[in-house]
């Protein structure tokens, strides 16, 4: 008797999955994306996990511009048929739209290798600290290229020139950062920064900054853990580690809040700094990033080889505004304002600094 009841339930369950399969196929063929998206919890609850169902759901989410949800479905479908050309036609753009360019390149046979993009940035930094460099100009030239679908490099040269009552301040920097896509959302970023500082008559030295970061894209999250080390001009080794999390609450690129925690370790002393912000995408061509940081830590951990000038002055708090406008497929103009409250260790003086920068990025 009980067996009879069980078999009835079993048949009904099977009827249900067969019906769901037919319904999802019909909705897909009718291009009824809204209804198909609405079916996703039911399909999942019925244990329906195979290529066709994930592919259909992925396309439905993609057409609704829900790229993160589409990506999750396409990644599941990929496990069932990695050779599907139809799938790759969606999966590659999904990786691109969610800014996982190297993951996209590893799947794209036609991905261009060689030169990727370049940018030129110019700006000025002003301070209200009369005993230090009150005004300094800088220029940065950067080039990104790929040597393999999984491996890309960023080279950046930065030149800084400033004047103070005690003499000239000149700094030349070379920054090299690699990006090696390991697979399954993992990317390794080793980097090295060589800095030649000449602040006559006080100091003339060359020092380095080196480290690495491990980045993981997981669903709507983007995690990054990194560590770097520097001798900061023969002042002894210093280490800094950081943990950064970016979250995408919306599937399309509307806004991306992020938070970062940093710690500086030096002679058993730990100083913490945290940074948070949001990047808002107004349209495909225009976006704005706002960031705020606080923590009284020396800010020598640099992501893209930007300024390390006055890195030894702890940053108490600061804010940044970055605005980008893409005028064509190849050209993006950007401007940034960076305002910090810093402390000069020798004079034990607090001062304010403002950096104004602007530049052009060119897709090669």
């Amino acid at each position: 008797m009980v067996c009879l009841v069980c078999s009835s339930i079993w048949v009904q369950a099977q009827e249900s999955t067969a019906l769901l399969e037919r319904t999802s196929r019909a909705l897909f063929e009718a291009q009824n994306w809204e209804a198909l998206v609405a079916m996703q919890p039911t399909l999942e609850a019925n244990g329906m996990s195979y290529f066709a169902v994930h592919y259909r759901l992925g396309v439905a989410f993609f057409e609704q511009q829900e790229y993160y949800r589409a990506l999750a479905e396409f990644q599941k479908a990929y496990r069932f048929d990695p050779a599907s050309e139809a799938l790759l036609r969606y999966l590659i753009p999904c990786y691109q739209f969610t800014e996982q360019f190297q993951a996209a390149a590893t799947l794209d046979e036609n991905a261009p290798h060689g030169l990727g993009w370049a940018y030129l940035e110019n700006g000025y930094r002003f301070t209200d600290f009369s005993d230090s460099i009150q005004r300094m100009g800088y220029v940065q030239v950067a080039l990104h290229h790929t040597v393999h679908p999984r491996l890309g490099f960023l080279h950046a040269y930065t030149g800084l020139l400033g004047g103070a009552w005690w003499g000239d301040y000149r700094q030349h920097q070379y920054f090299l950062k690699g990006a090696w896509y390991v697979g399954k959302g993992w990317t390794v970023h080793p980097f090295v920064h060589l800095i030649h500082l000449r602040a006559q008559p006080f100091v003339q030295t060359t020092y380095y900054l080196a480290g690495g970061a491990l980045q993981k894209h997981w669903q709507r999250w983007e995690w990054q853990a990194s560590v770097s080390q520097t001798d900061l001009g023969n002042r002894g080794p210093r280490y800094q580690w950081s943990l950064r999390a970016d979250y995408h609450p919306w599937s399309s690129q509307k806004a991306k809040p992020f938070a970062e925690l940093r710690q500086l370790a030096h002679r058993r002393q730990g100083q913490w700094q945290w940074r948070t912000g949001i990047r808002i995408q107004f349209s495909e061509a225009m976006r704005l990033q706002l960031a705020y940081f606080q923590g009284n830590a020396q800010n020598f951990h640099q992501e893209n080889g930007y300024l390390v000038n006055n890195a030894i002055d702890p940053v108490a708090r600061g804010g940044q505004v970055l605005f980008e406008v893409r005028t064509s497929k190849r050209f993006t103009f950007f401007g940034l304002v960076n305002a910090n409250r810093q402390q000069e260790a020798f004079f034990n003086t607090n001062y304010n600094s403002v950096t104004l920068g602007w530049g052009l990025q060119l897709q090669l």
Binding site: L4, V5, Q14, E21, S49, F51, F80, S84
Partner: protein, 207 residues
């Protein structure tokens, strides 16, 4: 012992709620199989499944295999793959369970599982014609011509005058740049199937 009336009452009440469950007399396996064939011939696959489930035994290879086939016909691909998998566990050297599994797996596009199953078949029987040919076709469509060539060579040596494998072997030669061999093979195809469009198209490309 006092629980028995409660269980019976509960089952009775459930049978009233669930339309598929009724107080039918017990059925033996041959009858259930016979009825399932009858329902299959009428296209009533869910009824065929229902009668087999009444005599279902988890350790019966035959019932699992039959349920897998009927589930496949019924469009319940997840369940079909599950039953074929169970049948394969019960009879570890069963080729039919593996060849059956590829039907729902291919229907839902799980081509990695299809490839894996054909590989399993070839581990048991390296000269299996269907597995060699179908796997070769998959590799050909994926433009993995060297892998396709190796499998087709086995089939064509066993069946030198069989159309499907011969024409695919000819196209594989052409894709690999072995034009002289491809021409000979396309001409052989024309002996099997005179005026064959695919062979003529291949020969035209070789002119």
């Amino acid at each position: 012992m006092k629980l028995k009336p409660i269980v019976l009452l509960f089952s009775f009440l459930l049978s009233l709620v669930l339309p598929g469950a009724s107080l039918e007399e017990s059925m033996d396996q041959p009858t259930a199989f016979q009825q399932s064939y009858a329902f299959e011939n009428q296209g009533q696959y869910s009824k065929g499944i229902s009668v087999l489930l009444k005599v279902y035994s988890a350790d019966s290879y035959e019932i699992n295999l039959r349920l897998a086939w009927l589930s496949y016909l019924n469009g319940a691909y997840t369940e079909s793959m599950s039953y074929y998998q169970k049948a394969g566990v019960l009879m570890p050297y069963s080729l039919e369970a593996r060849l059956g599994y590829v039907l729902p797996a291919a229907a839902v596009g799980n081509w990695e599982q299809v490839v894996a199953k054909y590989r399993e078949v070839l581990q048991i029987d390296p000269k299996h014609k269907i597995a060699n040919y179908r796997l070769a076709s998959i590799y050909y469509n994926r433009e993995e011509y060297a892998a396709s060539f190796k499998l087709l060579k086995t089939v064509v040596n066993l069946y030198p005058f069989e159309y499907d494998s011969l024409v695919l072997f000819a196209w594989t030669h052409l894709k690999m740049g072995k034009t002289r061999e491809a021409k000979v093979l396309f001409q052989k195809v024309l002996l099997v199937s005179p005026q064959d469009q695919s062979a003529l198209e291949g020969l035209a490309l070789l002119q």
